[in-house]
């Protein structure tokens, strides 16, 4: 039933918390945040949020789309795009293969179109599991393609970011994707397109300092780490511990950097309202 969201069936992810798979009644998992044992079933029924402490488990692109899209409405684009390893970086191909095996994706973003309560929209969801959601040439190219597609078809664009930053193994090619993606969303916005950026845990480095923070409207998930320089780098720089909650979604909201912090259970409704007002 849940698989019906996807036009074509995707390879099962063999993930304990995979929302599309039924779980054994008594299966448990230890919450990485509060370290309590919680029922997998309960976590899944609760938008992948720990029922004990409210910790947000990361969502896969499939799960995110599942949580938003109308039945059978998602059409994936550029599924087969794969990096050409532009620097000929040692052991990179092996790493990519292992990540593909684990996630079922060829790189760190899934893009396509879908209907959200009857409104057609372009969507990109980054996969934080794939080499930490880092942006290399494929992420850059796919983000640009879906943005240009949305521009051509006059669709709104929603991008869910989850990224550790630049793809180390692609060096300066990776840095240039910041320019490429920012240029694309800038053009899309100037031409009248609506870009809603949703920042999820973590959105950092090169993704944070490019398209992710260029949304017409920027929504953050509760407690998501959103920053340019990571907490460890800053602690090294200033030589002291960071204040609690620093660089978290609520902190950014307080500092005027995001429009709102929205809980998962409310996200679809908020997105729908925004989309409705821009039809």
């Amino acid at each position: 039933m849940m698989n019906d969201i996807f036009h074509k069936r995707k390879k099962s992810l063999n993930h304990l918390l995979d929302l599309r798979k039924p779980s054994r009644v008594e299966a448990k998992i230890t919450c990485p945040h509060c370290k309590e044992e919680v029922l997998v079933r309960q976590v899944k029924e609760n938008h992948k949020i720990c029922p004990k402490c409210g910790f947000y488990f990361p969502m896969t692109p499939e799960e995110r789309i599942l949580s938003l899209a109308d039945t059978k409405s998602f059409r994936e684009q550029d599924k087969k795009l794969r990096t050409g390893n532009p620097l000929d970086f040692p052991e990179y191909e092996e790493k990519l293969a292992a990540n593909e095996e684990r996630t079922g994706h060829m790189d760190a973003v899934m893009t396509g179109t879908m209907m959200l309560n009857g409104i057609e929209t372009a969507i990109a969801v980054m996969d934080g599991r794939f080499l930490m959601g880092s942006m290399g040439t494929v992420v850059g190219e796919k983000i640009v393609r879906i943005t240009e597609y949305a521009g051509k078809k006059k669709l709104p664009l929603i991008i869910f970011s989850a990224s550790g930053g630049a793809r180390m193994q692609e060096g300066l090619f990776s840095l240039m994707q910041m320019a490429k993606t920012s240029a694309a969303v800038e053009k899309f916005k100037k031409d009248g397109g609506l870009f809603i950026s949703v920042l999820t845990n973590p959105t950092t480095g090169g993704v944070s300092a490019s398209f992710a923070n260029l949304g017409d409207i920027i929504i953050a998930e509760p407690k998501a780490l959103i920053c340019f320089a990571g907490p460890r780098v800053i602690e090294q720089t200033i030589g002291q511990k960071l204040p609690k909650g620093f660089q978290r979604a609520e902190f950014l909201l307080e500092h005027g950097m995001v429009d709102m912090v929205t809980e998962r259970k409310d996200l679809k409704e908020v997105l729908y309202k925004i989309l409705k007002m821009h039809r």
């Binding site: 640009v144 060096g171 240039m176 320089a229 800053i234 660089q247």
Partner: protein, 263 residues
């Protein structure tokens, strides 16, 4: 080019040397009538960025460049060339002003990276960099960037979305410092030298990749060379209308795909 057989890491050290020309050396050698313009109009002035207007031959231009100190005192004042959001916002203000008056923008890039500090993060370092990159990509006036020393990370790219990107022979341009790279990838910042060999950060390598447009030899004629290159490029770009310049720039960055495989 003379120093062909030096290693990438030796170039990093050269690029960081405090004896290297700084922003005011370029301003003095290449321009006349420089007038410095300061402030982000939002509450701060960031000394790590020098901005202003000047004459280049008979052409009024806008100059934006990163500044490192030559002494400890200066370094503290200019934060070692590490720019804060306020600096990027000042740069953006001046570039927008250049666009209004159809002045070419020339940026000089030399930074170990955007400032990774408490206040910089609180004031929206990510947003400031993203907005500069986005605005530069659509600026309807010629933009030329020269990486004179260290071009490190988004902190460099925030001034580097240009029609022509040139590097000095011993400059380096990278996603982050070799130390940072080694620390992330191998959990050992001491392997910086090794990192340089796989990162591909030298002018020569990046020109070969087509990621930059030219290499400037570092010899006694360097300033004359830059002068000639700038003049030729600006004259050529000025023949185009603003929107055409911006469109070409968009296409230029749009094409950088690292030869991905698939459709």
């Amino acid at each position: 080019m003379e120093k062909q057989n030096i290693t990438a890491y030796e170039r990093v050290l050269l690029a960081r040397s405090k004896d290297r020309a700084g922003i005011f050396d370029y301003i003095d050698a290449l321009f006349t009538d420089f007038i410095e313009l300061k402030g982000d109009r939002l509450g701060k002035e960031d000394g790590s960025i020098v901005g202003g207007i000047a004459m280049f031959h008979d052409i009024p231009v806008t100059i934006v460049g990163q500044r490192k100190g030559k002494t400890t005192e200066e370094n503290i004042k200019y934060n070692f060339g590490m720019t804060s959001p306020e600096g990027y916002r000042k740069a953006l203000r001046l570039m927008k002003q250049a666009e209004k008056f159809k002045r070419p923008v020339i940026t000089f890039i030399d930074t170990p990276g955007a400032y990774p500090g408490l206040e910089a993060e609180s004031n929206g370092q990510s947003t400031a960099i993203a907005e500069n990159i986005a605005a530069m990509s659509s600026l309807e006036t010629p933009v030329i960037s020269i990486i004179t020393g260290e071009g490190s990370s988004g902190g460099a790219l925030a001034l580097g979305v240009a029609d022509k990107v040139w590097m000095l022979e011993n400059a380096v341009y990278s996603i982050l410092s070799p130390e940072g790279f080694a620390s992330i990838l191998w959990k050992d910042s001491a392997r910086a030298s090794e990192a340089c060999d796989v990162m591909k950060i030298t002018a020569e390598e990046l020109l070969e990749f087509g990621l930059i447009d030219g290499v400037i030899p570092e010899n006694e004629n360097m300033m004359e060379t830059i002068d000639g290159m700038l003049l030729a490029a600006i004259k050529k770009l000025q023949k185009l209308k603003g929107p055409a310049i911006a469109k070409n720039r968009y296409e230029k960055f749009r094409r950088i795909d690292g030869a991905y495989v698939g459709k």
